[in-house]
């Protein structure tokens, strides 16, 4: 079965082509084609998972795609437990999001085009997780970036949407530059693009540790861009301009996790470079904290979730940096289910309220019961409440951090506290309390079945998917997805209790402030107004980048074009031309007056001389005799003196 896995990405690709070329005018059919294709991919992925579960080895299938001297570029697939898990994550979320989209996007004038883009995305993402070499993964890496661009700017009439798409593409591509240079450095040194061959080479010491660290950090640059880590995290919140199901699929569950996947896939390399791993862990921890703190004060429901996503991705990256291949990827999986759920739930709310502002919501529990319950389940899971999925995966990471370096565990706990707080701030404001906007509240309604059923399924996964990683299981996630050997950390009860306590206190604080109102949110805000302002404005990263990168770059471009290209180089070219014209004019004058003048002048002189001399030739003998006489006298006189 495994050799046919290449079909998995092909179904959505086919669907993309079918929609673009044939069914673009038939929205209903287009959505069916797209969902059918991803359902087939899901089916095949499921078979792959079962196969790999039965025989958990790494299989590789490849063909030569392009021969370069000393360098083979392959098209191939690498299938191991991680791939199998990722295939499941991508196909399940993609399928549910597409079903949900039928309701969410109903009536949109570009309905078919939307589904074609989703198909293209699913193809690219599946290709990414199946890749067996650096070249191939980079291709799909860029393609998911393209589809992300197209879908963020899907409602391109809105300037903010097209701006956001552009920003996402360029920001992630900046990270990709580092990625690309890292690939060059690593692969030209070890002489292969193939993952497994490169790992063998690296393990046998074919690359010096300095170069290895350098290339590992450069490659991580790609992950920083894609997974929206500091300092390239600025694009993801803006990406919320896209349709909400897109945010769920691409900007929460799958594509943004590609960076995490990349680091996991290259674990053999990071495992050998302590400094690179440390960089990874620090960037992850820092981002997790930074983004969570911003999420505390945001008022746009999707932006809160976006910063939460950045923060949770930081969590996973931190885990990988600490060597937690199992923990990081496990959290990736559980996060995909509850974050997709939260986004789709937010979409359901937005669909009914036509606003993103949580302060215009309130009391929605009464109107949208399914959405509210599933959303709260998702929030509990994200907050890491026992025994939901998020609890188990977060616990794995905290446990790992505690064993490796307690400081990271502290950061992890702080982030967990903030996470619980901001999620329940959201829940209490949106779903409880009184309706703040009566008009919108009255029009609020539960979404159609096609949207709520995916919510229920995802809620189910948010509760139970993490159970495969319960540490007491003899056969579970950690004995399936691991790097080199199973690292079985002894479960730590105290840590579990502490983590639960931290999460609960975050929820309680949100409860006290936003439900009970015992502590006034207004007063808190005024008390810490400078901090609030800093957080509310996201630490002014956008303003900073604008001031130090974007505007100077445009100024430079303008300067180079107007002052240098036109002002200097072209000026010189024109000056050379004009000088030539001047020279020709000058030589013409010279020609007329000097050269020609000389020729004519000689003529004049000769004629004039002739005329003068002619006067001498009189033909009268006495004149000649006089001249001779006078001449002789002159000579004698000269002789004497």
């Amino acid at each position: 079965m495994l050799p046919y896995s290449w079909l998995i990405p092909c179904f959505p690709l086919l669907s993309f082509a079918l929609i673009i070329f044939f069914t673009i005018k038939k929205p209903r059919l287009s959505s069916l084609v797209s969902i059918g294709a991803v359902a087939l991919s899901f089916l095949f992925s499921f078979i792959v998972l079962v196969t790999v579960l039965g025989n958990p080895v790494t299989s590789e299938f490849k063909i030569n795609w392009l021969d370069l001297p000393g360098f083979k570029v392959e098209a191939g697939m690498l299938i191991d437990p991680l791939t199998a898990v990722m295939l499941m994550v991508v196909t399940i979320v993609s399928m549910l999001v597409q079903i949900y989209s039928v309701g969410y996007m109903a009536g949109d004038s570009r309905f078919s085009r939307y589904f074609s883009f989703l198909s293209l995305f699913t193809f690219s993402m599946l290709g990414l997780v199946l890749s067996n070499n650096f070249f191939e993964i980079f291709i799909f890496w860029e393609l998911v970036g393209l589809t992300s661009y197209l879908l963020i700017g899907f409602w391109f009439e809105k300037k903010t949407a097209s701006d956001a798409g552009k920003k996402a593409f360029i920001t992630t591509r900046t990270g990709d530059l580092a990625f690309l240079v890292g690939i060059f450095l690593l692969t030209t040194t070890v002489g292969t693009l193939n993952f497994q061959e490169a790992f063998h080479q690296v393990e046998s010491g074919a690359i010096s540790s300095t170069l290895l660290t350098l290339s590992a950090i450069l490659i991580f640059g790609g992950a920083v861009g894609k997974s929206a880590q500091f300092p390239l995290h600025v694009w993801l919140p803006d990406a919320m301009e896209g349709p909400t199901p897109v945010s769920a699929l691409i900007h929460a569950a799958t594509m943004v996790a590609a960076g995490v996947y990349l680091v996991a896939r290259l674990m053999s390399i990071y495992a050998l470079s302590v400094p690179a791993s440390l960089v990874v862990a620090i960037i992850g921890a820092f981002t997790a904290f930074l983004a969570a703190s911003i999420a505390l004060v945001q008022n746009d429901i999707k932006r809160v979730l976006a910063y939460s996503t950045i923060s949770q991705l930081g969590y996973m990256i931190m885990a990988l940096g600490l060597g937690g291949y199992t923990a990081g990827t496990f959290h990736l999986m559980t996060h995909a289910s509850f974050k997709a759920l939260l986004f789709l739930g937010a979409g359901s709310v937005i669909h009914s309220m036509h606003t993103n502002d949580i302060w215009e919501m309130g009391g929605l529990y009464l109107k949208m019961r399914t959405t509210a319950i599933t959303f709260i389940l998702g929030s509990l899971s994200l907050a890491g409440i026992f025994p939901l999925s998020g609890f188990w995966s977060k616990d794995e990471i905290l446990l790992l951090a505690l064993n490796k370096s307690p400081i990271f565990a502290l950061v992890g706990l702080a982030v967990a506290f903030m996470t619980a707080f901001y999620m329940f701030r959201l829940c209490f404001i949106a779903f409880y309390g009184k309706a703040r906007d009566q008009h919108k509240f009255e029009h609020a309604h539960e979404s159609p079945k096609v949207m709520t059923v995916p919510l229920v399924i995802l809620a189910f996964l948010s509760v139970f998917a993490g159970w495969v990683g319960i540490p007491w299981l003899s056969k579970g996630y950690s004995t399936f997805v691991y790097h080199h050997e199973v690292h079985h950390l002894e479960p730590n009860f105290i840590l579990m209790l502490v983590a639960t306590f931290v999460a609960l206190s975050g929820i309680y604080l949100a409860y006290v402030i936003y439900y009970k109102g015992t502590i006034s949110a207004e007063r808190l805000k005024n008390r810490f107004s400078s901090i609030h302002k800093l957080l509310y404005n996201k630490y002014y990263f956008d303003e900073l980048y604008n001031a130090i990168i974007i505007r100077p770059l445009f100024k430079l471009a303008d300067f180079l074009f107007k002052k240098f290209d036109l002002g200097v180089i072209d000026w010189l070219v024109n000056a050379a031309g004009n000088f030539t014209v001047f020279l020709s004019w000058f030589w013409e004058l010279f020609d007329t007056y000097v050269v020609d003048g000389a020729v004519n002048g000689l003529g004049y002189v000769v004629r004039g001389t002739g005329a003068g001399i002619r006067k001498v030739q009189t033909g009268q003998l006495q004149n000649y005799a006089f001249v001779i006489f006078f001449g002789i006298v002159l000579i004698i006189l000269l002789k004497i003196f």
């Binding site: 360098f71 980079f138 692969t187």
Partner: protein
Amino acid sequence: MSFPILSYMIFIPFLGIIAVLVLRKEQVQAIRWASALFSFIPLVLSFFLLAHYDSSTSTMQFVEKHTWIPSLGVTYFLGADGLSVPMLFLTALLSFLSVIASFNIKFRVKEYFAFFLLLEVGMMGVFAALDFFLFYIFWEVMLVPMYFLIGIWGGPRKEYAAIKFFLYTLFGSVFMLIGILALYFTSQPHTLNMMELISQAPLLGRGFQLIVFVAFFLAFAIKVPIFPFHTWLPDAHVEAPTAVSVILAGILLKMGIYGLLRVSLPMFPKAALYYALPLALLALINIVYGALVCMAQKDLKKMVAYSSVSHMGYCILGISALTVTGVSGCVFQMFSHGLITGALFLLVGVLYDRAHTRDIDAFGGLWIKIPVYSGVMILFCMGSLGLPGLSGFISEFMVFIGSFPVFKVIVALAVLGVVITAAYFLRMIQKMFLGTFNTKWEALTEISGRELFTVIPLAILMIGVGVYPSPLADMIRATLENIVHLVTG
């Protein structure tokens, strides 16, 4: 191969000129179709060329050799190898598509097509000639029709642009002529046979190589164009009529690169090694500087024109590395840039014909009004900014990975060009196609079938090479291995 296919490819357009001249100038339709026919036949022949080319060897194929001026040792010597076959195909394809795109020319149609076909004769000849005398003749033959095509059918500043192009290129040609003479008088026995000169190259002294290399380099650098000889390009490209811009960007720029690969590298191997680093630095300037200047453009056509400066930088970088992968990337980039930029100029022309402006800021939201045009345009922009799956990515990747082991820092900096390129293309896409629809363009009509016909083959090839580059890579490998071997030994 006894069938003189290369001569046919060169001179069938010449028959076309005669046909066009015989027709009366009122017979516009007949003139158009005659031109289309006489540019279509070389395209068909070029398919034979592709099919019959034996890529296992680097020797010249389809060779035709006849004595011509025995007293000077001048021969009529044609041949094609892995370097010229793709270029001949590209020339035939773009010429044919450009003729189709020129059907909307209304002014002095007869002369236009006559000049256009003459241009094709010159281009084909340059890529097939293996005798310097012939090479130089074809090289100069291109100049004249190009001068008139820009000067008569061009935009508002056509005279300035035409003269600038003509003089600038002629300036370079003079140096090439000196170089050719230098080679002729140094060779023993005196010869203009390029193959013979290549085989004698190891005998040339280092000092001689260093000087004569520069003479040829000036001619080629102006053509490419390499910074700081590039300012003729934006003027010529912008003022030229659409089809001529296509040829300029698609074929003429490649002649500079072709010359470097055909002449400079194999004939002056020591100089090529000596100048590798300066060349790489110039390439870096071309890539980054060209891309930055693009960001400052307000005129769509000028932006595409400057993007060529940036994209040709990749070719130079690939050459400077003197590795087979780098040089292969260079040839891929020649081919790919011909397809992509050719299509971009065609599409700019389509819009200009309707809107009579190319000001990027004047549009907005066009994707709503003309979705097919916008979709195709965005596809080619993606190709130009190096999106994987399209040909531009393969060539950039090959150039980078081929030059990285040689010039690590330069490549790491050149990669910056990739992100700036993305920035200016996305900015243009956003301003023109996204955002709210500018109702001023309510009357804008969708791209016509004929216009679509001119870009579809280019799109297919762009995707084809991007997804399955092996055939092209196989075709050029042996030849380029030989060229690199001649230099690096």
